[in-house]
């Protein structure tokens, strides 16, 4: 059984006098124990809202409605009261964000913030907690950890802050870690350090990781399973290799064709997806990708496409997916043009 099973999650923001925004529109995916799962997609596709909804951290504003299920180890997180949810959040699920400063308390030294987690969730006290805190900072690669314990977040660089936040997240030995764009604000050499650290941590402790990112390179390097989001829906789910080798959903194909590759030659041609999300909001009925899709057919409008479970264990929401080579000899006129 999956550790986290998200089923038909929907989040709607309704504002008086305006059309409701279906930020998340029937998202389902699962995370097994110890697995690294990616949620990938461009800005506004609903990645953050999905994770915040699971964690119960969406701003409590009028007009917000959350539907569906998020079952963690047999408990539906969406049905919990605030207290039990906070308990689970500290003990079993931890989260790290893009901007570590906003999730660290600026007036409390790093050390105290880590020991607080240890005291609250692992019952450690005094010397023991301080020792463990220093060990944790050391574990995440913060130099001279004993001295760093006394320092405030603003005294650390962005990369070191992100490490401190990771130390705090893993302090309670969670079973699931949710990381929302944890390296987007960092330089590429620092990003490499942090990703390596996250990989080590999951490998060593068996923690499952839900990795939210817009960077397909990051996904290729660390996720076991990948969920591609578009317009508030998961449009394709596959294991890492098949997804990159043979994407089926036209949006996944488009994304992969858009990214320049470091290892490609100067002559490499990019194949951008035409149009943009902004031109379409709110999402059209039927397939949200239809206005930008080269494989669109008459069936694509009206009802949203059903989730298709392919025989190879992958799934996609598309009525006219990219054919597998040698399997479906579907002709494509556009390509020769």
């Amino acid at each position: 059984m999956a550790l986290l099973e998200v089923e038909d999650l929907s989040v709607t923001f309704a504002r008086r006098g305006q059309r409701a925004v279906h930020a998340v529109d029937g998202v389902s995916f699962s995370v097994d124990a110890g697995e690294v799962v990616g949620l990938v997609g461009e800005s506004g596709c609903g990645k953050s809202v999905t994770s915040l909804a699971i964690m119960g951290l969406l701003p409590k504003q009028p007009g917000l409605s959350v539907g569906g299920k998020a079952v963690f180890d047999g408990t539906d997180l969406l049905q919990l009261d605030d207290r039990s949810r906070r308990d689970i959040r500290g003990r079993d699920i931890a989260m790290i964000f893009q901007d570590p400063l906003s999730s660290l308390n600026p007036v409390i030294p790093i050390g105290l913030q880590v020991t607080e987690v240890l005291t609250r969730h692992r019952g450690m006290k005094g010397e023991t907690a301080a020792k463990e805190a220093a060990a944790l900072l050391d574990r995440v690669g913060i130099p001279d950890p004993k001295r760093r314990l006394k320092e405030y977040p603003h005294q650390l660089s962005g990369g070191m802050r992100q490490r401190a936040l990771i130390a705090m997240a893993v302090a309670c030995q969670p079973r699931l870690l949710i990381a929302d764009e944890p390296t987007t604000a960092l330089d590429v050499t620092i990003q490499a350090q942090i990703l390596e650290l996250l990989k080590d941590l999951v490998r060593d402790s068996g923690t499952a990781l839900l990795m939210i990112t817009h960077d397909l390179g990051v996904v290729a390097g660390m996720c076991d399973t990948v969920n591609v989001l578009y317009g508030g829906r998961v449009v394709e789910t596959a294991r890492r290799r098949p997804l990159f080798r043979q994407p089926r959903h036209p949006y996944t194909v488009g994304l992969l064709g858009s990214v320049p590759r470091l290892d490609a030659g100067r002559g490499e041609k990019l194949n951008p997806i035409p149009g943009s999300v902004r031109d379409l909001l709110p999402w059209p009925d039927g397939c949200a990708f239809a206005p930008r899709c080269a494989r669109r057919t008459d069936e694509c409008v009206g009802e949203p496409p059903e989730l298709v479970h392919a025989h190879d264990g992958r799934s996609y929401r598309c009525v006219n997916p990219e054919p597998l080579p040698g399997m479906v000899p579907a002709p494509r006129e556009e390509e020769s043009a």
Partner: protein
């Protein structure tokens, strides 16, 4: 590629320096030091080609770009554009040169006046530089520019906030293009955009270069993007070039240890490549440009640093094959004679930070991370 264009240099930068004073004090600003944002850069850009500048944030890329265009006065050094020395040019003459050198910015929204519609944004530059015989002529030029960047005519009466990020970047490009420049300095032109839109803008820049013969200086932190559009790439570290190479060479044969680390750090969207790659992880943070390390500025993080020379002698750019490299030991590293070793991380303080928090506001949800 003809011989002629290859040797035709449009921009030549010689020993360019831009130092910013660090000021402290309540009543009197006291200069307590210098941020050496750009500290001795030599480079030349061939006409009709793209020079890409990469490096981590704060390494001085934008400052170099601005100093090249004389938007920030250089502290020292020379910049010649099409044979004209810009640093000593009287301001009137410089102003008329500006038409030939334009800039595109990262965030199209903040570089466009929200109260001006697209037509007035595009007309402004034409009027400033006295381009176009009359209103009809200017409208014709603007129309052609819109076509070139792929914006519809109805865009003219709209305001920047009515466009998506990618369209706004097209407006930014149109504003630069409408003046018929020869050089465009593009500072992070696609980093604010989603990948699918980023590809549209990258292709647009490519097409415009082909059709108009433009010369680009493209500044970006995304190595894959820079390599994709550049003929030559310069890698900066703490205010100086550490390596310059033909774009293809940089990935296949990086010579400077920092370039190697940078190349190995960029994720490639291909699981097979990712699983095979060996990462060179650098220890610690980028040192502050206000207090750069002695000798080779990379020596505090360099996995190949040697006990001799590295800490006390600043390496100059030397020609090695088709590349220029600033490393004392580049040949020995390339041949494998020198092996990498462990480096312990050193703490680097964020700029302008004291011992206690300055202005403090309560976090929105304390402890929300657990």
């Amino acid at each position: 590629m003809s011989e002629r264009t290859e040797n035709d240099i449009l921009v030549e930068v010689r020993d360019l320096k831009v130092h910013f004073p660090i000021k402290r004090g309540v009543l009197f600003d006291r200069v307590v030091g210098q941020v050496k944002a750009v500290d001795g850069v030599d480079l030349s850009i061939a006409r009709g080609k793209t020079y890409g500048l990469v490096g981590e944030s704060g390494c001085g890329k934008s400052t170099l770009g601005r100093a090249l265009l004389q938007l920030t006065p250089p502290t020292a050094g020379e910049v010649s554009f099409d044979g004209v020395e810009l640093t000593t040019l009287p301001s009137g003459k410089l102003r008329s040169m500006r038409r030939r050198m334009q800039m595109i910015f990262q965030d199209p929204m903040s570089s466009l006046d929200p109260r001006q519609n697209v037509e007035s944004i595009l007309t402004e530059g034409l009027q400033t530089h006295g381009i176009g015989a009359d209103r009809t002529d200017r409208r014709r030029i603007i129309g052609e520019t819109l076509d070139a960047v792929g914006l519809p005519r109805w865009a003219l009466s709209r305001y920047p906030h009515e466009f998506s990020g990618g369209q706004r970047q097209r407006i930014g490009i149109a504003r630069a293009l409408v003046l018929g420049p020869e050089l465009i300095v593009a500072d992070e032109p696609v980093s604010a955009l989603d990948v699918s839109i980023q590809a549209q803008v990258v292709n647009l820049l490519d097409e415009l270069q082909d059709s108009l013969g433009l010369t680009y200086l493209v500044i970006a932190h995304d190595l894959a993007v820079v390599r994709h559009i550049s003929d030559t790439v310069g890698v900066m570290y703490l205010g100086a070039l550490v390596e310059e190479a033909p774009s293809d060479r940089l990935y296949t044969e990086p010579l400077h240890p920092y370039t190697r680390a940078l190349m190995s750090a960029v994720p490639v969207p291909d699981p097979d490549v990712e699983d095979r790659r060996e990462r060179i992880l650098l220890a610690g943070d980028l040192p502050s440009p206000a207090n750069p390390p002695s000798g080779c500025r990379f020596h505090t993080r360099c996995p190949w640093a040697q006990p001799t020379r590295c800490a006390d002698e600043r390496p100059v750019l030397r020609n090695i094959g088709a590349s220029r490299v600033a490393c004392h030991f580049a040949e020995q590293i390339a041949s494998g004679e020198l092996r990498p070793h462990g480096v312990s991380a050193q703490i680097v303080r964020p700029e302008g930070e004291g011992d206690t928090p300055g202005v403090v506001s309560a976090p929105t949800e304390p402890g929300s991370y657990v």
